[in-house]
């Protein structure tokens, strides 16, 4: 059912000065809207994309045979391939004949359901080094299709520099953030199993998804190595949320694992139903979509932020919004882009950039190394319900905890799953044709298990983005030029990831049929982080511990760009816990009149 009670207001009142204007409506911006409005503040939320009729887009339960192209987007649309990211110069869509060009995720199954969610590379070009930048411009941003793995960071991450001497510590410790992780868990719902691991703190879990036979077997085998796989810690409410009428509990339909993502009953967290609609219900939130912010405006007398300028993506008209505080949640790279674009006499290098660190210290998760194997005991066995869940398992970091690895710093984790899916991906790898071929495909369908790694990419000053002097997007806003490559630490880590993945499978008696050792293009993990990092030293960081600009007291950046390092654990839950903490602080400061 299309929610029309939370319609955006395209004629939002821009005469008043809001307490805060928020840029972006994803995990970060949505959380900021929730927290600030719950403190009674008047907030304007600007989103560059549209509000889609998302249930109609996702059609989570549609069978492949009920779709004319079995779920695929039209053939005139193209998803970039690994090869194209590697050999084509940016902008990737340049010189392509396709009607629309999308990032690689649109090459997954069911791409017709997400084609209106992700951006067209034609409208949003980038330049520089190869980078697979997955962006979603719509109300809710990437939370409309996120992978849902909801993990906490620990002091192995926040205090990593103290442990190994590389980079900077975060200006907070786990104890500072733990109460906010608890709030996020309770307000949004998370499923999982307590494991008591110091490197991966437990959440306040609702009931977990379950394991398949092969996963149970793999978990038991890993005990000998003092390692563990735990049911996918999903940002999904499995028991329901009494305080939120827009979200259903999860019915284990498994729809979310069959496609790019998305949940049409909103059991999986998404920012609109989880945060924004409840915030609108307070009466304190004004939502303006189709509003691409291109500048943070500055008060000439004080040097503080006075609001933002935005362009209506449909009409091309420009507007100004005024606010006592500006909160950026446009996504890691977009927030940095916006700050770099916001040059003024007071802030000649871009707003909040007296340190020169905006755009720098980029970090993320490297992907590529992975393993696939067969569990022989499951060949030819009756098929079971295996994909009725948001994810399979998570194998937490085990490197550089108690021991020190001689070859690389930091660590990596794996996501994986075993069991039967809707489509037999092994059919094309099964040789031949005819009755024997068909029987083999059937017999092996439930016997596969695989996992892929997510490794911490070290933040480096010289991994950075800047404004391209020549290239502009469809609306005339200068775009980002990338200077991002993986270094020696990532290369050595990737080798260990592949070796360990293979060894763990072999130790479990899984017949390994494939090991990938190559790193994928930067950006592939969709976990881009850093570029406006927090810190206590204004010369080496952009934000303080409350994600507040060192230079401009009423400017906050509450998305992943504030992260000091990437950890190897997925960032969304940390983004929201940090945003909650910072917006509590901002609300307090606004009430005291101190920003």
């Amino acid at each position: 059912m299309f929610d029309d009670t939370h319609a955006p207001n395209l004629n939002a009142d821009l005469k008043q000065t809001y307490d805060a204007v928020i840029v972006g409506s994803g995990a970060a911006g949505g959380m900021a809207a929730h927290v600030l409005t719950s403190h009674g503040l008047k907030v304007l939320l600007l989103e560059a994309g549209k509000k889609l009729n998302i249930e109609k887009e996702l059609k989570s339960m549609q069978w492949p045979y009920d779709h004319p192209r079995r779920g695929r987007m039209p053939s005139s649309d193209h998803a970039l391939t690994l090869n194209e990211y590697t050999i084509r110069p940016q902008p990737y869509a340049k010189g392509m004949r396709y009607k629309h060009v999308f990032s690689y995720v649109q090459g997954w199954s069911g791409s017709d359901y997400s084609k209106n969610i992700v951006v067209d590379e034609r409208d949003h070009p980038t330049t520089g080094t190869p980078y697979a930048w997955v962006r979603a411009r719509l109300l809710g941003g990437k939370t409309a299709i996120w992978g849902r793995l909801a993990l906490r960071l620990s002091d192995y991450d926040f205090k990593a520099a103290s442990r190994d001497g590389y980079g900077e510590n975060w200006p907070i410790s786990y104890a500072d953030l733990a109460p906010y992780y608890d709030r996020v868990d309770t307000y949004l719902g998370i499923s999982g199993l307590k494991e008591g691991l110091p490197q991966l703190p437990d959440s306040l879990f609702q009931r977990p998804n379950r394991f398949t036979k092969s996963e149970i077997m793999f978990r038991e085998s890993l005990q000998k190595m003092n390692r563990v796989i735990t049911p996918y810690r999903a940002g999904v409410t499995t028991d329901g949320l009494k305080h939120n009428k827009y979200r259903s509990k999860c019915f284990g339909r498994g729809a979310c694992s069959r496609r790019v993502g998305g949940c049409d009953i909103h059991a999986a967290f998404d920012s609109p139903t989880g945060l924004i609609y409840p915030a609108m219900d307070t009466g304190n939130l004004t939502l303006r979509t189709n509003a691409t912010v291109y500048e943070v405006t500055v008060d000439k007398d004080t040097g503080k932020a006075s609001g933002v300028s935005f362009i209506d993506t449909e009409t091309g008209k420009t507007y100004q919004a005024k606010a006592k505080a500006v909160v950026l949640g446009a996504s890691t790279l977009e927030s940095a882009r916006l700050m770099l674009l916001s040059k003024s006499t007071q802030h000649p290098n871009g707003i909040g950039n007296s340190s020169g660190h905006v755009g720098h210290n980029f970090c993320e998760h490297m992907m590529g190394p992975s393993v696939t194997g067969i569990v022989k005991d499951l060949i030819g066995k009756p098929h079971t319900l295996d994909d009725g869940r948001p994810g399979g398992f998570y194998l937490p970091r085990f490197r550089n905890l108690a021991e020190k690895n001689p070859n690389f710093l930091r660590g990596y984790g794996f996501e994986g799953e075993g069991g039967m899916g809707i489509f037999p991906g092994h059919a094309m790898r099964t040789p031949g044709f005819g009755k024997e071929f068909k029987k083999t495909v059937r017999d092996y369908a439930g016997a596969f298990i695989s996992m892929g790694g997510f490794g911490e990419v070290l933040p480096r000053y010289d991994n950075y983005v800047e404004i391209d002097p020549d290239t502009k997007d469809r609306w005339g806003v200068p775009v980002l030029r990338f200077h991002i490559t993986f270094g020696e630490n990532e290369k050595k880590m990737a080798q260990d990831m592949a070796d360990q993945a293979q060894e763990m499978f072999e130790n479990a008696g899984i017949q390994v049929i494939g090991v990938d050792r190559k790193m994928l293009t930067p950006g592939w993990s969709i976990h881009e982080l850093g570029t406006t990092r927090m810190g206590s030293d204004p010369k080496k960081s952009v934000l303080n511990q409350f994600q507040q600009s060192h230079d401009v007291k009423n400017l906050f950046v509450v998305d992943g760009s504030s992260h000091v390092n990437a950890s190897c654990q997925n960032p969304t839950w940390t983004i929201m816990a940090l945003a909650w903490r910072s917006c509590d602080y901002l609300a307090d400061q606004l009430k005291k009149g101190e920003v």
Partner: protein, 163 residues
Amino acid sequence: MGDELRRRDLIGITAGAAAAAQLGATPTHPRFFTPEEYAVVDDLSEMIIPADEKSGGAKAARVVDYIDVMLAEAFEQEERDDFRAGLKRFVSTPAAEREALLGRASQNEKRPRTPEEKFFRLLKQYTVTGYYTSKIGIHDDLDYKGNVYQQGQYAGYLPEKHS
């Protein structure tokens, strides 16, 4: 009137009509293949995934209609030309000898070189995709249990110390 009724009856009893309804936009006649090509592709797809004691094959799943739609709507003319060029050899081969030809064409699947080998790979890709996204492939053959509302406990197992 008699003719009209008869035509409708005929259409109604062919499997193609059911598949056409399933595919939505598919007309009751092929959009890309000639009638001769259509019949040959139908036969070849069944050779790749035949009916067996467990389930119907590619013919029953109307894989040929799926391939016809995909080729009719393919973005590059080259995709249509390549398929047709590879198919030509099979169309011109007597029906009784086609399976043997398919067997020879399948000898180099991983690194296909000759036009026949490349065609085999293409045909297999289309057939696999079409068949295993069909009702027969998903439900009858693979016994896929998912895409359902689970009530109560989720399926699967919890690790021992938790169960």
